[in-house]
């Protein structure tokens, strides 16, 4: 009987691997996700046949409750709310790993089995990583849902305190591995890890969330892998490692997109963050020029190529459908419209792509930064919607700027740049955007959704 479950676990692992492989193309991605789900179903079914399971009441209750909650989440969530949804799901994954590890410890503690050193190491790691993932993800969720301020939160002795807690929890972990019969110590380790998760994510600011979410994603995978070590189950080790690798790669991509080290993000905020200055109009660089919907519609009548640069502001205003209408009306006039996507635009990897996909913008019109950056000089007009730091030319030449060295979209090379923003407020990095003062830049003020709808109406009435 045991051999059958091992074989099914192997098949499930293969389903996960092929499932992720099929995510390499939007054409096969849906199939890939379904394949991974089939793998999961197989793993669950064969586990239910395990001879260690003697009663099914609690199992069935748990499966039903969890499935209903999960399904409601998945079907109710809006596409703009996807970052917090992923954050929350990460947390539940981490929480489950912690609970399974503690439960396994209790079973050995009250049972006849001996504590083995490798199992103990895995239990400690599983509890530590799982707990940090759990509370860290809940904080990330709170920040994205705006239950907690999305700003960089600094508290006294932040770095020494976190360092102290990490060292404490590791030392306690080593003690527990050496002397495993100490259930209180395991609970203290759990508690400290839970606190650590809160303290580590709290200082991370809103625009750094893509990194935090990716990193937590990776943790949830590694925690699952550790649970695999606890249970001596290779399928868990494989599945967890795949997720862990995925999260790490996304974290690296996000960090590169901001030209920052992981340490810098984890420690919280840009060095200059917190410097306010809400208005840049009085800046010595001069006056900004603004344009209204009617003038902009006239300007758009004479262009042949447009690149739209969406940012977090588009998500906040839920403007993706209005932006799609703008694309349609421009394409009807024979204008070539494409979208330039910066890797860290939005609050999670691929955030803009999902929003625009929801608005039925074909995915081949969304072009990654490195593929579109050379096209800006040949582009008549760029429309920036709710993006700021990722189009600030200071990143290229101003060595004193906190965002110096960050890869940006070279929008300023286009003939005309339209910037849609609600006001001249500074971006996340807390610095003025010199692009606004460029001779080829025009500000189109207003809420993204209203402004785009107005523009579309102007374009329709003029044709």
């Amino acid at each position: 009987m045991q051999i059958i479950s091992y074989i099914v676990y192997l098949i499930a692992s293969i389903c996960f691997i092929f499932g992720i492989k099929k995510l390499a193309s939007p054409k096969t991605a849906r199939q890939g996700n379904q394949l991974a789900a089939v793998g999961m179903l197989l793993a669950i079914i064969v586990t239910l046949k395990d001879n260690r399971i003697l009663s099914y009441e609690w199992i069935i209750a748990g499966i039903i409750i969890g499935s209903i909650i999960g399904a409601v989440f998945a079907l109710k969530v809006k596409m703009t709310g996807m970052p917090q949804m992923v954050g929350l799901l990460n947390g539940f994954g981490g929480g489950a790993s912690t609970l399974v590890a503690i439960s396994e410890y209790e079973r050995i503690f009250y049972g006849t089995k001996q504590f083995e050193i490798n199992v103990m190491i895995s239990i400690v790691l599983s509890v530590l990583i799982g707990s940090v993932t759990f509370t860290g993800s809940l904080i990330a969720f709170g920040k994205l849902q705006e239950l907690i301020t999305g700003k960089v939160i600094k508290y006294p002795f932040q770095h020494p305190l976190n360092a102290l807690l990490i060292i404490t929890v590791l030392v306690m972990g080593v003690i527990l591995v050496i002397q495993p019969i100490n259930i209180e110590l395991l609970l203290i380790i759990t508690s400290v890890s839970l606190v650590l998760g809160v303290l580590l994510v709290l200082p991370i600011g809103g625009a750094d969330m893509p990194v935090a979410i990716s990193l937590l994603n990776s943790y949830s995978g590694i925690a699952a892998s550790m649970t695999g070590f606890v249970l001596s189950n290779n399928m868990l080790i494989i599945a967890g490692a795949l997720v862990g690798a995925s999260g790490i790669i996304l974290t690296i991509i996000m960090c590169k997109g901001m030209n920052r080290s992981l340490m810098n993000v984890v420690l919280g905020g840009w060095e200059s963050a917190g410097s306010t200055g809400s208005s840049a109009i009085s800046s010595p660089k001069g006056q900004v020029k603004s344009i209204d919907a009617e003038e902009l519609a006239m300007l758009l009548d004479s262009v042949s190529s447009v690149i739209i640069v969406p940012g977090y502001g588009m998500a906040v205003a839920q403007a993706q459908h209005a932006v799609r209408d703008l694309m349609n009306v421009l394409e009807k006039k024979g204008v070539r419209v494409r979208f330039a996507i910066h890797p860290v635009a939005g609050r999670m990897p691929g955030h803009m792509n999902v929003l625009l996909a929801e608005a039925q913008v074909e995915y081949d019109k969304l072009v990654a930064m490195e593929d579109i950056n050379d096209d800006f000089p040949n582009t008549d007009l760029v429309i920036i919607i709710g993006a700021n730091d990722v189009v600030n030319p200071a990143a290229r030449h101003n060595q004193n700027s906190p965002i110096y060295g960050m890869p940006i979209l070279n929008v300023d090379y286009a003939k005309t740049v339209i910037i849609n923003k609600r006001s001249l407020n500074v971006g996340y990095a807390g610095i003025d955007n010199e692009l606004f003062f460029y001779p080829n830049a025009l500000m189109y003020f207003g809420d993204a959704k209203e402004a785009m709808t107005k523009l579309v109406n102007e374009l329709k009435s003029s044709s």
Binding site: I59, G66, F73, F92, S103, I237, G244
Partner: protein
């Protein structure tokens, strides 16, 4: 005869990480959000451990923890796969 179980598990872990790196570097940026939510669902595989914990015969703390773990893991699994499917349905090309 020494016990090589742990070593074999580390083999599996390291090799799976390499497979993961190979596969995921091929995922285009446009699919990064579904990749996260989908892989997230896969990390709900801890359900396997939770089922065994909750399925023991007698009532114990371990069983209750297993029960809560099943709920958490199922939210992760069902929520993750469903929401990913919902997103991927929207990705279209003309």
């Amino acid at each position: 005869m020494e016990d090589f179980t742990l070593l074999m598990q580390i083999y599996v872990f390291v090799l799976a990480i390499f497979v993961g790196f190979e596969l995921i570097t091929k995922v285009p940026p446009t699919l990064h959000t579904p990749l996260m939510s989908g892989s997230n669902a896969i990390s709900g595989i801890t359900i396997v451990g939770a089922l065994i914990s909750a399925g023991v015969g007698e009532m114990s703390v371990s069983k209750i923890l297993g029960f809560i773990a099943i709920i958490f893991a199922m939210i992760n699994v069902v929520g993750g796969f469903l929401v990913t499917d919902r997103m991927l349905k929207m990705f279209k090309k003309k």
